[in-house]
Every structure is written in C-alpha cells, then in structure tokens.
C-alpha cells in the first residue's frame, strides 16, 4: 500500500470522521432540545405565534377575553392552545395533554424558548401558562410521572451517525488515498525500471484516461525516457557505423600489402633492402590485422548493446562447451607453461546461443591465462545451486589481481588497469563477455582472492 497511501487515508478518514461527529453532535444537541420540547408542547413557529397572540390578549384584554379567544379558536382548524393555572387546571377545563402538570410546566418554562410557552400573570390573580398541544401526542420518555429522568447519554452521543460516519469515511478516505497513491506508485515503478536499464519503460498507457498534474508528470517521464533511449541508440548506431565503415579501407589495405609482398618476393635486386622492406611489410600487415580484429570486436559489442539481432537460444550442454574451451586454452598457455584445470560436471544445461556464450567464457579464460603468472594454473570450477536454479562458474588465476576499486571497471570497454604493466589493456574482451552474459540473464563479477589472483564469477540460470 505504501506510506503515502496510509498518510492520505488516515488524514482524510479522521478529517471526515471528525466532521461527521461534530456535525452529528451539534445536530443531535439541537434536535434533542427540540425533541424534548416537541414532545410536551408544540414549538413550531405556528405554535409560537398562537402563544404570542394568546399572551398578548391576556395581558391587554384580560382573562375573559382570553377565554373568548380560546372558544373561537376551538371552532377553527387549529391545534389547541392551553391556558393552565398554577393549580394545574385549564381555563376551559379541558384535560391536559399527557405529561403536562404543575411540575413539568415549571420545568418547561425554564428550559424552553419562551415563545413556545409563556407564563403570564392574569388580571384574575392567577398565573397562567400558555402553550400549544404537541402534534404527536406521545409523551417524552425523559419525563416520567413528572420527574425528570437523568439525561440519557445515548441521545447526546449520536451512535447511529457515528457508525454510518465511520463506515462512509472509511470508504471515501480509502478511495481518495488510492486515487492518489496508485499513479504515484506507477510512476515510481517506471522510474525504477528505467534506472535499471529498461529504456522501454513508459507510464502513458498505464495512466490512460487520467487528466491531471499526475498524468502530466507521467507524460513528462515518457518523453524523458524516450529521449534518453534515442540518444543511446544513436550512439550505439554510430559506433556500429564507424566500425562498419572502417572495414572497407582495412580490406583494401590488406590487399595492397599482399600485393607488395607478392611483388617483393619476386624482385631480387638489393637483397638487404628487400629484407628491410619485408620486415616493415610484415609489421604493417600485423598492425592491420590487429586493427581488423579490433573493428570486428567493436562491431560485435555494438551489435550486442543495441540488441539489434535477437539471440537464437537453444539447450546447451555447459560441460561440452567448457571442455572445448579448456583444451584450446591449455594449448595457448603452453608458451608460458600455464595450465588450465577444469573439473567436469555433468548434466548442466543452459539456454543460450552457443557460439556467443562460448565466446564470452573464452574471453574470460583467455584473460586469466594471459594475466596469470608463468608456471601457474588457472582453475575453472562449476557449482550448481539447486535453490536458485543457477550454475556458478568461477575462473581463478594466480596473477597479480586487480585493485579493489577497479574490480567493476575492468568490464568497461578498453579499460586499462593501474596495476597493468603490459601494453595492452583488457581491450573489449571482458566488455563483450559481460554484454553476452547479461543478455543471457546472467551475472558476471570479479573479486580478488588472497594469495592467488583474480577470480571471475559467472552465474547463469539453468534449465532442465
């Protein structure tokens, strides 16, 4: 759900709840008062007008006039107005409405709005209470035998509104919180995806239909990622094109060299000069072959990085793949008496494009053979991790290792390590290897092994 969601939710929930409570209370109090009033006497505006009229008549014209007025009113379709004296007797000797007696009248006079019930001292020497009978003639339960019962807190504290309030608040708060936190979560996921290298991440489709600042934010994100992706693609494309273009002049160069060599072996004048030319020519040829090799590697790397060609994966026996590589590597290591040892492991299969994967691992093994000290052994081990369904391949050499903070950098193209005295850096071998392994959903890392050298670990997912 996320913290933002809960913050929104709780805030609005309590805000709504409080509002509901306060309003309920206020209404409750007001209603309660009115309820009480209405139960015994009518306190509607109409009733108040009647009481006013009656009071006015009594005060101005006296008790007889009031009696006449009441008599007239009895013939009209009006609610009855009672004039009750301090003995509890009505002026027209009517039966009092339920709950009305000397004591309750006294209490009512204090409690109620004095336009609904008035106590007037009449010219006959009596006090009269003037009020209109209640429209619903049921007595208030708060008065029992004239005794005022303790206020029932139930009516002051509105239970029903509270329950409904809680319920409704919950729903609306949840909805509101969800409405805001969902797009924010989507954005966050998109950002994370882009940051981890997936430049196809877009939010637009997910946020479709939404029109507000958050949707604008989503659009801005999409534009940004799209632009970055384009920039990277054009760079990769450029590298690809450059490498491609370099090939033609290189091809021609090699043929030109071949022609000179051809002709120089056939000429015979100035034997020494020919030797010198011959040496230089060989040098030129070597260098052009090197350039050619480099261009090929650049092309491979740029092709892999741009993801132009999809990998053609198949079920590959890892052991078989490694055996071949180890044989070749042992052959190459013979010049420095470097051996490559490998403990075969059976029945390990990965889903891979065989030639690419072989090349990647080959680059790493050759690297180890190159940098390990003379007369040492490069150890190749494979471990199967059943839990994560992956195979862990380690290549350990006995060289000088690599400085700690450069362990990640050696996989960068053309990186030159600081401990490296040799003229050649790591070139593109490791960079290509990393690219290939990662496009096979694998991981490659390097660590220093104390008293040994560098250890490169490759982790690849296994299949049955």
């Amino acid at each position: 759900m996320g913290r933002l969601y809960w913050k929104f939710f709780l805030f609005f929930f309590f805000a709504q709840l409080t509002a509901v409570l306060v309003v309920s209370l206020a209404i409750g109090v007001v209603n309660d008062k009115r309820e009480r009033e209405r139960r015994l006497i009518d306190s509607a505006p109409g009733a108040k007008t009647m009481v006013l009229a009656a009071a006015g008549t009594l005060q101005i014209s006296g008790i007889t006039s009031l009696k006449s007025l009441l008599d007239i009113w009895l013939t009209e379709p009006l609610p009855q107005l009672y004039a009750v004296n301090e003995e509890g007797v009505d002026l027209l000797n009517r039966d009092l409405p339920k709950g009305i007696n000397k004591e309750s009248l006294a209490a009512l006079t204090i409690d109620t709005d004095n336009r609904a019930i008035q106590q007037i001292h009449a010219d006959d020497g009596h006090d009269y209470w003037l009020f209109v009978e209640p429209r619903n003639k049921r007595p208030a339960p708060t008065y029992f035998n004239g005794v005022r019962i303790q206020q029932n807190f139930k009516y002051l504290f509105p239970a029903m509104p509270l329950i409904v309030g809680i319920f409704v608040s919950l729903i609306f708060a949840a909805m509101l919180a969800w409405y805001f936190s969902k797009p924010i979560k989507q954005l966050r996921l998109a950002f994370e995806s882009a940051a981890s290298g997936n430049l196809d991440a877009r939010v637009g489709t997910v946020m479709q239909g939404r029109r507000d600042e958050l949707a604008d934010l989503g659009s801005a994100f999409d534009v940004m990622v799209s632009r970055v992706s384009q920039l990277i693609q054009s760079q990769t494309h450029l590298m690809h094109q450059v490498s491609h273009e370099l090939r033609s002049p290189l091809a021609r160069l090699q043929i030109a060299i071949g022609l000179i060599k051809q002709q120089s072996t056939q000429a015979d004048a100035a034997h020494q000069v020919n030797e010198k030319i011959s040496t230089s020519l060989n040098r030129i040829e070597t260098e052009s072959v090197r350039m050619d090799h480099l261009v090929g590697e650049l092309l491979t790397l740029s092709r892999l990085e741009s993801g132009v060609t999809a990998l053609q994966k198949e079920r590959v026996d890892l052991n078989e793949l490694l055996q071949e590589l180890v044989e070749d590597a042992n052959f190459e290591g013979m010049t420095n008496n470097v051996k490559v040892e490998y403990a075969p492991i059976a029945n390990v299969f990965v889903e891979a494009q065989a030639d690419l994967l072989q090349r990647a691992i080959d680059n790493i093994i050759r690297n180890a053979v190159k940098y390990t000290s003379a007369n040492t052994t490069v150890m190749l081990t494979t471990i199967v991790n059943q839990i994560s369904k992956s195979v862990v391949l380690t290549v350990k050499d006995s060289g000088s290792g690599v400085t700690e903070n450069e362990l990640e950098s050696i996989f960068k193209p053309f990186y030159r390590a600081s401990t490296n005295e040799a003229a050649h850096g790591y070139g593109l071998g490791l960079a290509i290897a990393k690219q290939i392994i990662e496009s096979h959903a694998g991981v490659v890392r390097a660590v220093n092994v104390p008293n040994s050298g560098l250890q490169v670990t490759i982790i690849l997912p296994m299949i049955e």
Binding site: R247, A251, R252, G258, Q358
Partner: protein, 225 residues
Amino acid sequence: MDKILLIDDDVELVEMLKEYIDLEGFSASTAHDGEAGLQVLQADTYDLVVLDVMMPKLNGIDTLRRIRQNSNMPVIMLTAKGDDADRIVGLEMGADDYVPKPCTPRELVARIRAILRRAKPQASHAKTITLNELTLMPEQRRVEWAGEPLVLTSTEFNLLEVLVERAGNVVSKQMLSELALGRPMAKFDRNIDVHMSSVRQKLTAAAGGKQLIQTVYRLGYQYLK
C-alpha cells in the same frame, strides 16, 4: 589456368584483388554487382566464383540463389566479420565456404586453391562406390540414388564422399573440414553443421524419407550402412 570470377561492389578492392590473383597463376575477371556478375557467368564458363555478401541491387545471397538455380560450381562468400546470420544463410543457400572480409589476400587464395583442388575429380579416388541404392562416382563427381542423380554442390559432394568412404564409422567434424574444405575447423564454426544438414536433406528427399546420415553427439557424423 583456372578462371575465377570476383563479384564485389568495392571497385578498388576488386581491381587490386584481380591483380593479386592473376599473379598467383589464375585468370581473374570482375563484376561489380549481382546482376552484372550473373550476366558474365552466362557468357563464359568459370571454375569458381568469389561473391561478396553485401552488395546493392541484387545482394550476395540472392545472387547465390540465382547461381545455384543453374549450376553447382564452387562459390566462396566474402562475409562481413562477425555477421553470423549472413554466413549461415549463405551456406544454407549452397555456398561452399566463406572468407571473412577483411582478410589477407593470401588467405583468400589459399581457400580458393583448397576448394578448387577438391572440386576436381581426384585420381586417387577413382573407384565408384556402391552402397545399397547409393552410387558414388568420384571421377565424375556424381552421385546417384537408385539411378536418379543427386544434385550436390562441390563441398557437399566432398562431405558425402568422405562419409561414404568410411561408411559405418564416425567421422569427426575436424576431419570432415580438413578433407572436404581443405582447412581446419575454426572456432565457433557452424560450417560443417550447415553443409551436413543440407546433404542430409537432399539425401533423405531422394531416398524417400530414409535417414542415412547420423549425427553422433560430440563426435561427428556417420553414414549408416
């Protein structure tokens, strides 16, 4: 003197190559695109074609396909380095071998020589071999199945010949490469696999679905007796 046709759109390169190849004792002609190359082939007979893959108008693969419609003459492809897809497709289309470009002209000539040598009937393997319905005639470089001729490219014939001569035994890919192509197998080389797949297809089609060539895991191929 063997006649070589070079088809490549890089004019300067092709002219230099022609010069080189001529000095090596061949007679080289050039064409600068697929269409022109096909026309030249129709006008005269050649012993081998060197064909660049990436050309405008009719590209290498399509040109190869057109050549193969009429002839099984040896074809060497010049492929872009690192472009495996084109290479495989080319081999599937019937090219005999490929040489990555750029390469030293010496390598190219060595390849040409190797392929040419094996494209000619060799005096040492004069005898016809018959195995059930299969009849292999090395001196004519022809194969028949139940009397019907089997159309194979030069390299495909070589491969089949090597297998049939050792029928019942497994022949390693290395040996196949050296004997049929005249070169050791390169790393990550799918060459032999593609050629064998083609041979197998053609043979099975002619034999009415019978599988005669067996792939032995990690060891090589075998022709079943």
